[in-house]
């Protein structure tokens, strides 16, 4: 799968958040997307998934050459895209087993043999993610700890085997053990399937366990620089101010806000 994001612009209400994002992502590649709070990272993931809270005002997102901006969220998911949420919602009354089985049926429509081994696979993946088997019968995310919710996202990813996944700050709030398990899940798909991912994060930590092929830094709604894995350590060393200086970024947001008020 090839995802081409071209000059993507989006806003929420009157506030412009994405101001021309260009990014090309492929299955088989791991991309890291870093940037300070409010730079537009989560907006980008939501816009890729068609969250209607955001309004796309320009640009394109092509998946294997086809523009997906007119597609509904579920149609995008059915292409083989997956989003691991930063804040997974709790769904009362719907068990993990029921929810995932139907999701797998949709993902693997027509592959009857695959569904025959669903339960076996689910149990194996739960073991792999160190999730208690009893969670199969618990309501999705209800009463789960933050770490359990994040692991549940990765379990879903393992079960649905997307061609490309976006992990929206999956590492935030995780202790090191949970972080390793999450990374382990990503690496499993990376080695076993034709899988790519965009790992959105604030911190270098997770990138010690999921080695990115490419790193992008986002600032004020644009990708300001891209590079290889070594960019992570430079950023870690010099901080975001260094990025700002390097790329001559002004604090333009304040001026814009002032302008929008007049």
């Amino acid at each position: 799968m090839k995802i081409e994001i071209q000059d993507l612009q989006a806003r929420i209400g009157d506030i412009e958040i994405l101001k021309g994002v260009n990014l090309t992502l492929k299955s088989g590649e791991i991309h890291a997307l870093m940037g300070p709070n409010g730079s537009g990272k989560s907006t980008l993931s939501n816009v890729i998934f068609g969250n209607e809270t955001y309004e796309v005002t320009g640009g394109k997102i092509l998946v294997d050459g086809e523009d997906i901006l007119e597609m509904e969220t579920h149609e995008r998911a059915r292409l083989g895209l997956f989003l691991a949420f930063q804040y997974p919602v709790e769904i009362p009354g719907v068990t993990v087993g029921r929810f995932l089985k139907r999701a797998a049926e949709i993902r693997f429509e027509g592959q009857k043999d695959r569904m025959k081994s669903f339960v076996k696979q689910l149990r194996a993946n739960m073991d792999y993610m160190d999730i208690n088997q009893q969670f199969i019968n618990r309501y999705l995310n209800e009463g789960f700890s933050g770490g359990e919710k994040k692991r549940m996202e990765i379990l879903q990813m393992l079960m649905l085997e997307p061609q490309f996944a976006i992990l929206d700050e999956t590492d935030s709030g995780l202790d090191i053990d949970a972080l390793k398990i999450v990374a382990q899940g990503v690496n499993k798909l990376r080695t076993e399937t034709e899988f790519g991912a965009l790992v959105i994060t604030h911190y270098q930590r997770i990138l010690d366990h999921i080695k990115p092929d490419y790193v992008h830094i986002m600032y004020q709604g644009r990708i300001v620089t891209s590079g290889g894995g070594d960019l992570v350590s430079q950023l870690e060393e010099h901080g975001y101010d260094w990025v700002k200086k390097q790329h001559g970024i002004q604090e333009e947001e304040k001026n814009e806000h002032a302008a929008s008020r007049t």
Partner: protein, 434 residues
């Protein structure tokens, strides 16, 4: 019981009806006690708080005909996985079955006409009489008292002390009649330490206008546990009025589940009275009015004994032009120290014309209690739909799953034999007015 038809509920007719009953004195005494209170009250109107949002003034209750025709009860083979069954059609009891050995252990599952014919041993009769009398005392509106005067048919279940049964009893009221009043009564008495469950189904034909005025009285003896599952699915030409009282003894547990789906107008009420120390009550309810249905439910958690715990969870969805009303009250008596009581009501609005009223209330007359209530009314959460869509669910399928899930917290407790039907009813209603 008498086989005549009575054409109205004038005082004269009701007195005549009572005098014609061939039944034990204790049962007639219940009717007479109810009639005395009945005479002193007016039919409910919107001036009464309980009926403020549910108008019953156009019913002309007095002019409804009623009868009490007994039928020969056939003993049938008991289904596997069931403790016993009693099936009624109209006022006639058609069939009964009891799992092997239960009769010898002292379990009684009798129709009302058998009770009238003296089927209950004295000790059980005394308990049933006292349960009914208590409900007459508890009744504070004329409709409920009218029920105890008229009691046209019903069932009595008695489970002796320390008997534990894992399979449910199933009591089914079917009715295909038109333009009649029915006053079915169920009395469930669990003796000390008895533990069992009951599925109570109230159904009707697709057509035919019934005025159903039901009474459900449950007495859970000390240390006992009763799980009661009500499932009311009568047609939308009919009206359902239901009044119930559960009495929870010392260290006893009552789980009362109510699924109220039928009736153009349904007025449902259940009071759980915690009389013993350390009692535990759970009231779980689901309702899903559709078309132009009006469902009004009221629960009361009444704490008299100390250290008792009670929890109410009522969940309703409203669609089309339907209207639901839920009133919940936690009442803590001045002696009920260390009460622990909670009340939650959640409503899903699924149509722009649909309406849900939620009125939770606390009335606490002592210190040292933990009580709280919460109520939510709103549409499906867009974030939930987005999440499911991100996993490939279509918006329609996401909506269905979320609504089914909304009810599941209560429905999941229902016995296996009721599950399919309950889910089908919910599923069918989700699809309406889309």
């Amino acid at each position: 019981m008498s086989t005549a038809t009575y054409n109205d509920s004038s005082l004269e007719t009701l007195e005549q009806y009572i005098s014609k009953q061939r039944e034990p004195v204790w049962l007639t005494d219940v009717r007479i006690a109810a009639l005395k209170k009945f005479q002193t009250l007016e039919w409910p109107s919107r001036q009464d708080e309980e009926f403020r949002r549910t108008d019953v003034s156009s019913y002309g209750f007095e002019s409804w005909a009623f009868e009490s025709v007994p039928g020969p009860v056939a003993e049938v083979e008991n289904p596997v996985g069931i403790s016993g069954t009693l099936t009624l059609d109209g006022t006639r009891t058609l069939r009964r079955s009891l799992a092997a050995g239960l009769a010898d252990k002292g379990v009684i599952l009798a129709s009302f006409e058998e009770v009238a014919a003296g089927a209950l041993p004295d000790t059980v009769a005394r308990q049933v009489a006292s349960t009914l009398m208590k409900s007459v005392d508890n009744a504070d509106n004329k409709l409920s008292l009218w029920h105890y005067v008229t009691m046209t048919h019903g069932a009595v279940l008695y489970v002796p002390e320390f008997l534990e049964l894992s399979d449910p009893f199933v009591i089914t009221f079917d009715d295909g009649a038109d333009k009649v009043l029915r006053s079915p009564q169920v009395v469930v008495t669990g003796d000390r330490g008895a533990r069992f469950s009951v599925l109570h189904r109230t159904r009707s034909g697709e057509e035919g206008e019934l005025l159903l005025n039901e009474g459900i009285d449950i007495d859970v003896g000390d240390s006992g546990k009763v799980e009661y599952f009500l499932m009311q699915t009568i047609n939308l030409d009919s009206t359902a009025i239901s009044n119930g009282l559960g009495t929870v003894g010392r260290d006893a547990t009552l789980h009362m589940y109510s699924a109220v789906f039928g009736g153009l107008l349904s007025k449902y009420r259940f009071d759980a009275e915690m009389i013993g120390e350390g009692g535990d009550a759970y009231l779980g309810g689901v309702y899903f009015p559709h078309e132009d249905q009006h469902i009004d439910l009221r629960t009361e958690q009444r704490h008299l004994g100390k250290k008792a715990h009670s929890l109410t969870l009522y969940k309703g969805a409203v669609i089309c032009e339907a209207h639901s009303v839920y009133q919940g009250l936690i009442r803590v008596d001045h002696d009920a120290l260390n009460t622990d009581a909670y009340l939650t009501n959640n409503n899903l609005l699924l149509g722009t014309e649909a309406q849900a009223d939620s009125i939770p209330t606390l009335q606490i007359n002592t210190d040292e209690v933990r009580c709280s209530h919460g109520s939510t009314t709103g549409k499906l959460d867009k974030r939930h739909i987005y999440y499911l869509e991100s996993r490939g669910y279509s918006p329609e399928e996401a909506r269905h799953l979320l609504i089914q899930g909304f009810f599941e917290e209560v429905l999941t407790h229902y016995p296996e034999i009721a599950q399919d039907e309950l889910h089908q009813i919910v599923e069918a209603r989700i699809c309406e007015c889309e």
